[in-house]
Symmetry: C2
Subunit: 685 residues, 2 copies
């Protein structure tokens, strides 16, 4: 049986490139990110004794926390020396593919102070936090209370005699839980508590509570604090619990940007505060998840595409090498659409984030909240869609890698496990879909009521284009397309694909709105339709924003821009067609006059879809190369840039503790003496 | 805010039982299994110092292997003392929810000797293996070779001079890999190697190779062996690698039941050997996976149903307790169908296994292989369906548990990780679907060719009932149902539901067969249809066998049997309707004359589906209680029988090594001194 080296195979795949991967990297990731990535790689590669992650697969919880804290120490030093910014520190988390105990110090503690502390409080807390003099965490979730923030049980009661707040956990279920940074590291917690003043409950507000001594790091009196144990992933972060037994803190510690309490217990709400600001924080956090998901799926598709290109299995000629696994259509069918979705998420995020920034500036500069509702709806929908796609996309990548995907050395298992919480935190995905759907339905209803659509945001545009004709009880614009419709015309025209996706959104929204408003179907009985509506809407938005970003290709000169445009257009078509064919019932459900809801067209679209996938397979390796994921982040035998899969795999296996010289020898000797020999000896008696 | 204890809530849920959970347990699990379970629980509970698994979540690889070997030692002793059987040992693996290093000794090494060794060889190897004098493993997979057994590179070359075989690993990729029991424990390997005699390759055969000394357990000369490192799950098993550098073994060690080699190198194949016997081994292994999956999903649905019954979130009245999460339709919609599928898998497996036994007896007693093809097709299809359903069902259970599902203490993460390989090993699920589809297509084609269908196996029955009318180019029996069809008539009649599911299989099979045979569509271009065909077929088979098992309810007296029948019928309807609505495109695709492929019916079926789910929610806790999963297997704070969720959760958290007295104190002190203090101190300078 012949055999071709994996390195040679991968090099040959690279010869198929029809575009410059570096230029593609620049376009799809953006120059700013490429620069940050290079800066971080420089830091990380200079100190492998601190930042090398290859041993992470052998560590237990304690080992992971310790390893990550060692890295956090170095990062904090570099920040103190002004060599790194906070954003850089976040980027290190991404490159290293592991979060550490200070993630929430940077990601939640400091931003909360930034937004909710007065200037005086910023001086007292935020400046110290920035300088790592204190380490903070954000303590909101409780053991018995998650999404329903109003249901939190922890109290902060004003004690006028001493001008203090008494922070208390009245029950077991009120124990703060899941708090990143709290288990081992934090000195301070920003505690969300029911604010009680003179027996009146003002609702939930943040209050800064010191929890560990800054001298010896021992828990302060009344504070029971600890790590809450091992998790599916994310084990470098010390998620922990804390329970307060009537802990007193100065009144000053209540963050007073949005509420003011004086020493008589008088409460005032500043006049310049719009409650929707809190709302915009959620949009911010979800937008960040949306932005990071494409970067994370990039890792998984890089590993899976490279490995299935070099992994061989079966073949027609026993005298030749077996076939690369990626040559099998069933593997392409599972993997190539994920490459497409990765590109679409990356491209979309530039435009989506720009929109978020526009929205934020309008609020900050002009107190103009008009863009917020749309941003909120889209961020909920895309947070769900992107996190689902990434988490389960990683799972698919693991599965196409076959048995070796199951080894930690694949790099895919830690990625899956660490990213998994994104489908739950910051709003569970099933709950978020409902929020998105409510907004879509409202816009749809407005359009049905014939009120003129004035806004030019993307959602309104859908319902303007496909307006409901109330007397006729259907979408008035039935000229969705003018020419004869065939699978080929659909696929050759991105704008037409976008229109069909938008039409699907409008059709489903009108149908559901009618059921709810006319047939009086309850929201609970609408749950399936609600989830689907959020999905088709998010699919449309992804395509919309990605297509918009393709317009930016003109920043490059010809013919380079054309060389990039062609594969990007293929990827967009694969994405969009995949959405149309995800559940063909949705297409059959469209009105007959759309001329798309019939077997022949749907069958034809399926054929086109497979053809596009086949054509993208040829450039799959250059496409993942262009995602620019360094070997450091891959941390994978299967996905290495040089294709040196099996040698690397064996090297890693040999460093398994059970095999190591001395340590492994002693372990195995002990195991044999204790457990194996007694049994085999007895048997011989 | 009021609050109800979780224990009280769970007890109240149990009051809703309309049937006796113990009787249901007996029916759905079968008396034999209930007895085995009790026997095993007795063993396990008597020696908690060996068998208690509550600390498993804190152990690293080495710790897990050692813990499991300690249990293996005790199990081996009990087997040596004839107090446990090999089957009992397998059942312990299930109850403990963890596999140990001897799993493959029992599951593959001994069965291979059983089937492929001569009597003399059995005396030499099998008897010692049974008595745990030697510990074996089954070494087939290589680093570079999985599914394609013919592509294995390891050789066993006959050396006539010394009457030995020389076992050799010629390349890195020929290193045996993924071999359970090999990493640390095994003394012997049953190696699958290319048999080469006088320069002729006879294909792959098993040969027993001693790999470690039975005296000091050190690797024997020429053998490089070790553990191949950490995995996503299954870490109590020492999957390992071995590389042979021209290792000599006596000719005797080649298992010679199916091939005989004499000392002149003459090869003979015994005349009584039918090559299909090997084929039947695969059917056996896959049938075992099919049988275990329902038992495994039982654990996950038990945890999720109990926890979502006591977990509260949001509510209309701030003065009352929040609502149990399971009261939300979107949670029911995700969870209740999984309870239905669990029951269906359990019920199906009794009938399916009985069929397998019939097939095996026919082969063994009468050399009659007529039942094997059907068994092979169904076992491939159900292996895929059941393992997909269980693995991703566990994932859904984890997700409905919200954040706490992410904690290892939920019990769901280890279950997911340990069971994950079932979608890959013993035939990757995507490959198996193709095998199933090929068989269905063959039966369909026979029926299209108007050859009379003689067999009465379930597949033939589908195509007999829905025979293709060649001249009319459609299914001849268009009276799928006689009466007026409404969503209500469909749901009220299990037989009708079965018929629709069978019709879907026939319709899809005929359509695909026509595309392949008439339109000359290639197999590669048929891949989507092939996967779907295998799925709808497996869904039908699941329902068919489950419905058959419901006939066995008559073993109980009335009214007990009726009390069991009612919820079981509801569960079957939920399962069947879920299959019909999985992708409504499949229903729309049916011919118009079936009178089911239209919006009104499909909409109506969706409503019925939601209603059935709602009605099953009331008895969800008794339904999972009846699955009979002991707290030992759950090993879960969230799923405990007594509902004492949060206290247990806190107790487990406190035993996290980072929190433990002394050990944790020292660890945290060290972490503070090394990594935290230097940073905060510097900041203060």
């Amino acid at each position: 049986m012949g055999s071709v080296s994996t390195q040679v195979t991968l090099a040959k795949e690279r010869d198929n490139a029809t575009f410059d991967p570096n230029l593609m990297d620049l376009f799809i990731n953006g120059e700013a990110w490429v620069n940050t990535r290079n800066k971080i790689l420089d830091v990380v590669r200079k100190q492998p004794e601190i930042f090398d992650m290859s041993d992470i697969y052998f560590l237990n919880r304690e080992g992971e926390v310790e390893k990550l804290l060692k890295q956090e120490k170095r990062v904090a030093e570099l920040i103190q020396q002004k060599k790194l910014t906070d954003d850089d520190a976040m980027a290190i988390t991404y490159i290293q593919d592991a979060s550490g105990p200070y993630r929430l110090h940077r990601g939640m503690f400091m931003p909360t102070l930034e937004r909710q502390a007065t200037d005086e409080q910023k001086k007292a807390f935020l400046e110290k936090a920035r300088n790592y003099e204190i380490i903070g965490c954000y303590a909101q979730t409780e053991m018995g209370h998650g999404s329903n923030v109003r249901g939190l049980e922890t109290t902060a009661t004003y004690i006028q005699e001493t001008d203090e707040f008494e922070v208390d956990s009245p029950t077991l279920t009120s124990t703060k839980w899941w708090i990143g940074g709290l288990g081992v590291a934090a000195t301070h917690a920003c505690v969300m508590a029911q604010l009680i003043i003179k027996n009146k409950n003002y609702g939930v507000y943040p209050i800064v509570v010191p929890i560990r001594s800054t001298v010896d790091h021992k828990p302060l009196p009344g504070v029971s604090v600890g790590d809450h144990g091992p998790k599916m992933g994310f084990n470098g972060v010390d998620n922990g619990f804390v329970n307060f037994d009537k802990v007193r803190v100065p009144r000053f510690n209540l963050l007073q940007r949005y509420i003011t309490v004086d020493n008589q217990g008088n409460v005032t709400i500043p006049s310049d505060v719009d409650p929707r600001v809190t709302y915009s924080t959620m949009v911010y956090v979800r937008s960040n998840i949306v932005n990071i998901m494409g970067k994370e799926l990039s890792k998984a598709v890089t590993i899976a595409v490279r490995y299935t290109s070099v992994r061989r299995q079966f073949g027609d000629d026993p005298n030749k090498s077996e076939n690369p696994v990626l040559d099998y259509p069933i593997v392409q069918y599972r993997l190539i659409p994920l490459v497409a979705k990765t590109y679409m998420m990356l491209g979309m995020s530039h435009e989506f984030y720009a929109n978020y920034e526009r929205c934020r500036m309008a609020i900050e500069k002009n107190n103009d909240f008009s863009l917020l509702k749309e941003m909120h709806a889209v961020s909920c929908g895309l947070k769900k869609w992107c996190s689902d796609t990434t988490v389960y996309g990683i799972d698919t990548c693991r599965h196409v890698c076959g048995g070796h995907g199951f080894s930690l050395f694949s790099g895919l298992n830690t990625a899956f496990a660490n990213l998994y919480p994104n489908i739950i935190w910051e709003g569970d995905n099933f709950v978020l879909a409902q929020q998105t759907a409510r907004y879509i339905l409202k816009v749809a209803e407005n359009s049905m009521n014939s009120s003129p659509i004035e806004s030019d945001d993307p959602t309104s545009q859908i319902f303007k284009k496909f307006k409901y004709d109330l007397p006729k009880r259907k979408i008035s614009n039935n000229k969705l397309w003018n020419s004869e419709i065939t699978p080929q015309t659909v696929v050759s025209n991105e704008q037409l694909l976008l229109n069909i996706l938008a039409y699907k959104v409008a059709h489903q929204a009108y149908t559901l709105a009618t059921k709810i408003n006319v047939d009086k179907q309850s929201w609970n009985d609408s749950l399936v339709a609600v989830q689907i509506l959020s999905t088709v809407y998010s699919e449309y938005m992804l395509c919309h924003y990605f297509y918009k970003h393709l317009g930016k290709l003109s920043q490059f000169n010809k013919p380079e821009s054309d060389k990039l445009a062609s594969p990007l257009s293929t990827l967009m078509k694969i994405g969009a067609l995949g959405f149309l064919l995800r559940n063909t019932g949705e297409l059959y459900d469209l009105p007959e006059e759309t001329r798309i809801s019939n077997h022949k067209i749907i069958d034809g679209l399926e054929t086109e879809y497979l053809n596009l996938i086949k054509s993208a397979r040829k450039i799959a390796v250059p496409l993942v190369d262009a995602l620019g994921i360094p070997d450091e982040k891959l941390n994978s035998s299967l996905g290495r840039y040089d294709g040196n899969v099996y040698e690397d795999y064996m090297t890693r296996a040999l460093s398994e503790p059970l095999n190591r010289e001395k340590m492994g020898d002693e372990l195995r000797e002990q195991i044999f003496k204790r457990y194996i020999e007694p049994v085999t000896k007895y048997a011989k008696l």
